[in-house]
């Protein structure tokens, strides 16, 4: 058992946690913005998959990783705009529209990928993002090499957390987002356009989901495979609840999940007896369900979440 513990608390382990947490942090922040404005985006799983595909394809065709990231972000914005069109402009059920967006985006991702790359026994790969050590900071023992010798997208995620908190709590637009999520009628009387603000928040969320997808195929796996997202989008939705719709707490939730996931990976690698590794893959999901049950007692969702807004109606 002590050997297991030794393996766990290494520099590599800390670095692994941060890499696993990065796409989750992007996705969770994205979903949080959407939900803060009152829109549950269940399209996230499919949107991330489609973004992972378009990012990978754009990068592999153009040879530029950042062009790939841009393609992924634009895809995320377009697909979440579609979700907003259905749920915000037309006021349709957020649950069912989100599932529709996920089914549509996943199907489209697989279809277009197969169309572009054909059927190959080994999936094509790209040379993904390389680690960029930050001078001085990366020299700090343990923490330095784990946190400050990472991919550029990891640094972007680290910056995104305080930035999201600032935007949400300290800017007029952030105030509008919170108002349309809590009390759209009051926001409307105060002269805030509920429809426009919700559209903006959902689309911003989609851009972040795009970054999450881009990270998976351009930094973590450097290839697009069919299980590349494998439930990370659904996990992000749970992490928003677990993080109580707050940027800092949501990012913390992403780190905690990443810790359990990295632990699970280590347990697989240490080959505990003859337990099939899929047993360990269940752990982060079970952990998330249990954590939600524990935390949801005092979780307070934005009160207008799931409720469409129509000005003429009461």
């Amino acid at each position: 058992m002590s050997a297991v513990f030794e393996q766990i608390f290494q520099v590599g382990f800390l670095a692994a946690i941060i890499r696993i947490a990065t796409p989750l942090a992007f996705a969770t922040l994205g979903e949080m913005f959407s939900e803060r404005a009152g829109v549950l985006n269940l399209g996230i799983e499919g949107i991330m998959l489609l973004c992972a595909m378009t990012g990978f394809t754009a990068a592999s065709l153009s040879g530029s990783l950042w062009l790939g990231v841009l393609a992924a972000v634009l895809t995320g914005m377009a697909m979440s705009a579609l979700h907003a069109l259905f749920t915000v402009a037309l006021g349709l059920s957020q649950h069912v529209c989100g599932i529709g967006v996920t089914l549509f985006s996943s199907g489209l991702a697989y279809f277009l990928y197969r169309l572009t790359f054909g059927q190959q026994s080994v999936p094509p790969s790209i040379k993904g993002f390389q680690t960029v050590p930050i001078p001085l900071l990366s020299d700090i023992p343990v923490l330095g090499s784990a946190v400050f010798n990472q991919f550029a997208l990891v640094y972007l995620a680290i910056i995104a957390i305080p930035l999201a908190a600032f935007v949400l709590y300290r800017t007029p637009w952030g105030l509008s987002v919170r108002m349309v999520g809590e009390n759209p009628r009051a926001a409307d009387s105060a002269g805030v356009s509920v429809i426009a603000t919700r559209f903006q928040a959902v689309i911003l969320g989609g851009a972040l989901m795009g970054l999450a997808g881009a990270f998976l195929t351009m930094a973590q796996f450097n290839a697009f495979t069919f299980g590349v997202v494998s439930g990370r989008g659904w996990v992000a939705i749970a992490l928003v609840v677990f993080g109580r719709w707050d940027p800092w707490r949501s990012a913390g939730a992403a780190l905690l999940f990443a810790f359990v996931d990295a632990l699970q990976l280590r347990m697989q690698a240490s080959g505990l007896g003859h337990i099939p590794y899929e047993t360990f893959l269940m752990l982060p999901f079970i952990f998330t369900i249990v954590a939600m049950a524990v935390m949801s007692r005092n979780a307070v969702a934005p009160s207008a979440l799931l409720k469409p807004f129509r000005r003429e109606e009461r």
Binding site: S106, F285, I289, M292, R310
Partner: protein
């Protein structure tokens, strides 16, 4: 300018027209992808149609594929009626498949084997669905999220079984041992795969319709879905109704898995369901949550799935087109549903 105006009543012919409109819109929208793949649109759809309905064998294949989606469609329709957001039909189906595979491997006379497989599968599906329902009733955990996450848990549990204790030690393939021959569902038509489970699915639809429309439980489910406050005021124990709905919904999804094990694959493998649980949501919405409408909706999706494979072989258009058609049909149906509650009216000066 146009504006949406609330309707006071919905014309009856809408029930038939809207799904057809949605399906038509989906097929038209997806023809762009066929053209993008460099194939003829009419040719591609022609191949799909003849591969799914062209001869009696094709029709039976389509029905075999429709059976699990009838069950998952009913599961979703029942749950959504009570506004129990069961997105977990996929996991419940897998649990049903695993449980029925366990039971089917026990030597028993045929009829008893099939009956116990059905019971075990339904019970397993119900047990899985009970988790999100209980979490919602007791801990106020969002049922969408918990049922979604459970899909992953059940999938990995199945994978652990077929990679671990069930793994074929002889060939090394990650598949379960086959069920007993006596537990194989009888084939109804010589030379086809049309099995008993298909008939069970076709009978289940009117039964569930009767349950929803004519029984007390069905009434409670509907009232709870329409307005929990009114239900409570009317003396309905809303929590109990949600739990019953979950058990019923999960059992139906579990039966979808039983049919796949007993009638099609006779064992469990990792890809036993190509997403039938998620397709159930599309089916239920196309059917407007009406159990009778679930049958034609499931047959349509099954035809698209069977047809897409043939189309892919004939024209080279990736078979994933069927997934895109499903997603598009669901979104188109949601837009179509808008017209049941609203009409578009021109306001302001006419141009």
């Amino acid at each position: 300018m146009f504006r949406l105006e609330a309707r006071s009543s919905t014309p009856a012919w809408f029930n038939l027209a809207l799904p057809l409109l949605a399906i038509g819109a989906a097929l038209v929208l997806c023809s762009g992808l066929i053209a993008l793949a460099g194939a003829g649109v009419l040719e591609a759809y022609g191949v799909m149609l003849s591969a799914s309905f062209g001869d009696s064998y094709a029709i039976t294949e389509t029905l075999v594929r429709a059976a699990p989606m009838i069950f998952t469609g009913l599961a979703v329709a029942v749950a959504f009626r009570a506004k129990f957001w069961n997105i977990g039909a996929e996991g419940q189906l897998l649990a049903g498949a695993v449980a029925s595979c366990f039971v089917g491997a026990i030597p028993m006379p045929g009829a008893l084997a099939i009956l116990s497989m059905a019971l075990a599968g339904a019970a397993a599906g119900a047990a899985v669905a009970l988790v999100p329902a209980t979490l919602r009733v007791k801990f106020k955990v969002d049922d969408v999220v918990s049922s979604l996450l459970l899909n992953s848990v059940i999938y990995y549990a199945l994978m652990a079984l077929i990679e671990g204790p069930w793994k074929d030690s002889f060939s090394g393939y990650p598949i379960s041992p086959p069920i007993e021959d006596s537990a194989n569902f009888p084939v109804l038509l010589e030379g086809t795969r049309l099995h008993l489970g298909v008939i069970a699915a076709l009978i289940a639809a009117p039964l569930i319709w009767f349950l929803i429309v004519r029984t007390t439980l069905g009434f409670r489910i509907r009232v709870t879905g329409e307005s929990p406050e009114a239900a409570r005021y009317g003396g309905i124990h809303v929590e109990r109704v949600l739990i019953s709905t979950a058990l019923l919904s999960g059992a139906l999804a579990g039966l979808a898995g039983v049919g796949e094990v007993g009638g099609v694959h006779f064992q469990v493998m990792s890809d036993i369901s190509p997403g039938y649980g998620y397709s159930g949501i599309v089916v239920a919405m196309l059917a407007r949550l009406n159990p009778l409408g679930v049958v034609p909706a499931a047959i349509f999706l099954a035809a698209v799935m069977t047809g897409a494979e043939a189309m892919s072989r004939a024209t080279g258009v990736p078979a994933f087109l069927s997934d895109v058609i499903q997603g598009t049909a669901l979104l188109a149906m949601l837009v179509a549903l808008l017209f049941t509650a609203y009409r578009i009216r021109r306001v302001g000066a006419a141009l």
